[in-house]
């Protein structure tokens, strides 16, 4: 009697063969490797204006508006002059925003300065993103310069951290990102 109990005890000590565990894990791993698409939430962030029933018509002084038109064949018109390249656009927009009333043709102050982006229904999305990218680049560069960062470092600020949030607020203070995207019209 005692002997049989002893034996069963001894038997229990023998372990399950776990050599195939790695294979099973490998199989699952490969399944997840294949099905995984790491979702990217990257893009150009923007905030839309609140909805109104009336058409959004607002009067602004002409000097505070920087007008950019893109037509249906993706040609760009900047302040009623032809577009040359993105470097020049970048420099011009920056000058426009940070004019502080010096040049009578450019903005009064950064707060009132508005970049008005106007498109046609046939304009390609790609072109819109290109221009939007350039405009946001100007703002991020301005923000970054105010707190001694590059545009890239500024964009990467983590707003959950108090000191980085303070930097972010300081950089943006008084210079809102006024990029207006008008409804595209059907004509021309």
């Amino acid at each position: 009697m005692e002997k049989t109990i002893m034996r069963s005890f001894e038997r229990r000590k023998t372990e399950i063969n776990s050599s195939s565990m790695a294979d099973i894990a490998f199989l699952l791993l490969i399944f997840f490797l294949v099905t995984t698409t790491i979702q990217t939430n990257r893009g150009l962030s923007a905030t839309l204006p609140p909805h109104t029933d009336e058409p959004d018509i607002a009067k602004f002084h002409d000097r505070n508006l920087y007008k950019i038109h893109i037509n249906s064949s993706d040609r760009i018109l900047v302040e009623d002059a032809s577009f040359e390249n993105f470097e020049k656009l970048h420099a011009d927009v920056k000058k426009f925003i940070l004019n502080h009333g010096n040049d009578p043709l450019l903005s009064d102050n950064p707060k009132d300065a508005i970049i008005s982006l106007h498109m046609n229904r046939g304009t390609h999305y790609k072109r819109f993103i290109e221009v939007m990218d350039a405009l946001q680049g100007v703002y991020y560069e301005i923000y970054g310069e105010r707190v001694g960062l590059t545009a890239k470092q500024f964009r990467a600020l983590d707003l959950k951290l108090a000191n980085e949030k303070a930097q972010y607020d300081k950089a943006r203070e008084g210079i809102p990102m006024n990029i207006s995207i008008a409804d595209p019209n059907k004509i021309n």
Partner: protein
């Protein structure tokens, strides 16, 4: 000579593979956690444009994806750009109800902070993008991300 001998025999013993399952499991868990089983791009194909001034949005729970692109099945859905969310094609008028439904799934305090990740093909015309934007304004979902990928030749 005898020193050589012992070295040889010890080399004959194989490497212990006891830790192998653990390593594999670690990798497995990593992929299980990062995997997001998406349904949203079933019917459309799109290639998002590239840009430089990208921002990474971390509040995953607030994000709702809407995509605009050309249907994969042209015979069934036509070759005009269409709107899709959560695996279903939407008409422009369906967007407001869809956003409202998505908002209902969020906690009350963050409903108006919903973020729309707009994934549009780079060749779609702005007309349809603008229609979507108007609907989003109506639904008071005003935080929007125009999805884009890194530009390859960036030098910043």
């Amino acid at each position: 000579m005898s020193v050589f001998r012992t070295k040889f025999t010890s080399r004959g013993s194989s490497i212990s593979t006891a830790a192998l399952p653990d390593i594999i499991f670690m990798l497995l868990f990593f992929f299980m956690v990062t995997t997001v089983l998406r349904k949203s791009d079933e019917n459309l194909k799109y290639k998002i444009p590239s840009a430089e001034q990208l921002k990474q949005i971390d509040q995953k729970s607030l994000i709702t994806q809407i995509s605009i692109g050309i249907p994969k099945d042209i015979e069934k859905f036509g070759s005009e750009p269409r709107i899709e969310a959560e695996g279903k094609l939407l008409e422009v008028k369906d967007i407001v109800p869809f956003i409202m439904k998505e908002k209902d799934e969020l906690p009350v305090y963050s409903r108006d902070q919903i973020i729309i990740l707009l994934k549009a093909d780079e060749d779609v015309p702005m007309g349809i993008v603008s229609d979507v934007k108007q609907e989003l304004r109506k639904a008071n979902a005003r935080r929007i991300i125009f999805a884009a990928s890194w530009k390859k030749d960036q030098n910043q």
